[in-house]
Point group: C2
Chain length 232, copies 2
Amino acid sequence: MLSAGGPVTALRHHDRVVEAGEDLVRPGDPVDESFTCLSGWLFTYYLLEDGRRQILGFTLPGEVISLIGETGPAPFGLQAMTQVRVCAASNAALGRWLRGRCEESQRLMLNVSQHATLAYGLVTSLGRRTARERVAYLLLELHMRLGTASDGNVRSMPLTQSIIADALGLTAVHVNRTLAQLREVGVVSYVNRRLHIVDGQRLWQEAGAERDPLLTRLRNDTAASAAKQKLI
Amino acid sequence: MLSAGGPVTALRHHDRVVEAGEDLVRPGDPVDESFTCLSGWLFTYYLLEDGRRQILGFTLPGEVISLIGETGPAPFGLQAMTQVRVCAASNAALGRWLRGRCEESQRLMLNVSQHATLAYGLVTSLGRRTARERVAYLLLELHMRLGTASDGNVRSMPLTQSIIADALGLTAVHVNRTLAQLREVGVVSYVNRRLHIVDGQRLWQEAGAERDPLLTRLRNDTAASAAKQKLI
DNA sequence: CGCACGCTTGATCTATATCAACTTCCGTGG
DNA sequence: CCACGGAAGTTGATATAGATCAAGCGTGCG
């Protein structure tokens, strides 16, 4: 879905390792590269002048961060949540490389447009969902982006409660209480960076996502790519 | 900025007129076209199952709605706020046309990526800004997208208070009070669908946008395109 | 004329923030 | 191995931004 696997890796001029908590891109840095995340998790964040922070999205292993549309100073930062290995390609080279390859261009556009779609989902969460719905929705989304393929219901992720808070426009304290609620009613538990989906169906309900076109599509996409995996 | 002016108009197979309050695309419709807005305003919206509505963005005259990344049922709707004239191009034809034209492909990608950027701005507003900051920010953003070019400080727009509310994750009532506040302190007034910027500098402050990279860029872009206009 | 929609204003409620204290976990240095 | 310190998580008490409910006003339109 968010992985294109193509041009950025083809052009990789160097890989880079970033330690947990460090920035791959600092807000304001000149943007001149795009990345593929080889391993580890990143988030994209926006910083208000007074220090309030909003997380704009997460990048999981295999996903592509296409910054080729950006110019000048980065309006946001990219921070590693774990140790991260990325491969980088300069946007200039990428642009040149794409010049002859319309196919690839369009593929990359697809990637950008999927990021936009995820952003729209987040807008909707922040604007119109309750804390509980937001948390449920995020956990569900990440669960699916990690690939439904293997061991079903348990999954470990590097999110802290205060990262969740900054992604969902909430307070760490409130995220804590919300997670506690969801655990107590037996829907999901997220303890020790370990996500355990207790009742999948109820989780979809809690997220208000049963008919949510965004998540539904994500489900189909991952189902499809899981099927593809099987064929190999 | 959000206007590409290129492929969609080049390929227009038909124009269409939509009356105020009608949908150009209904949520769930199959998406098979992209549009350029020739006149009038639209908004993109997401509908939760229980009727809550979140507006994801606005489309102003001259701007392009590229849906070429979308397939299957539309996850969102597109509604006309005024009578709207758009020109439409089928995504299939658009894809074919783009095949030989990498330049144009990239231009379109730029457009998509700018929409994503606006979405990130909205995420930040909804997640981490107060009602007052949100309203100020939105008014400022729209003011600039309308083109700073001509008559400075007054501008008429078709936003109702409840549309503003649905865009900013607030209640119409609260938007009303917030607008009243901003008016009383002499920063902006938005009365009768008429935006009057009383104190531009304070408005940037209220929006918390003085160093906001997103809006700053928008300012530069429109300044640049205004300069270009002059040259013609 | 009357009705619907948009706006305004007041009273009250509530989801979430804020403040504060305490615990548990984990890595580091002695 | 233990002692320490800092980050993450937990829990309670209280505060507040913004929601909800309700009523009334204007105005354009069928």
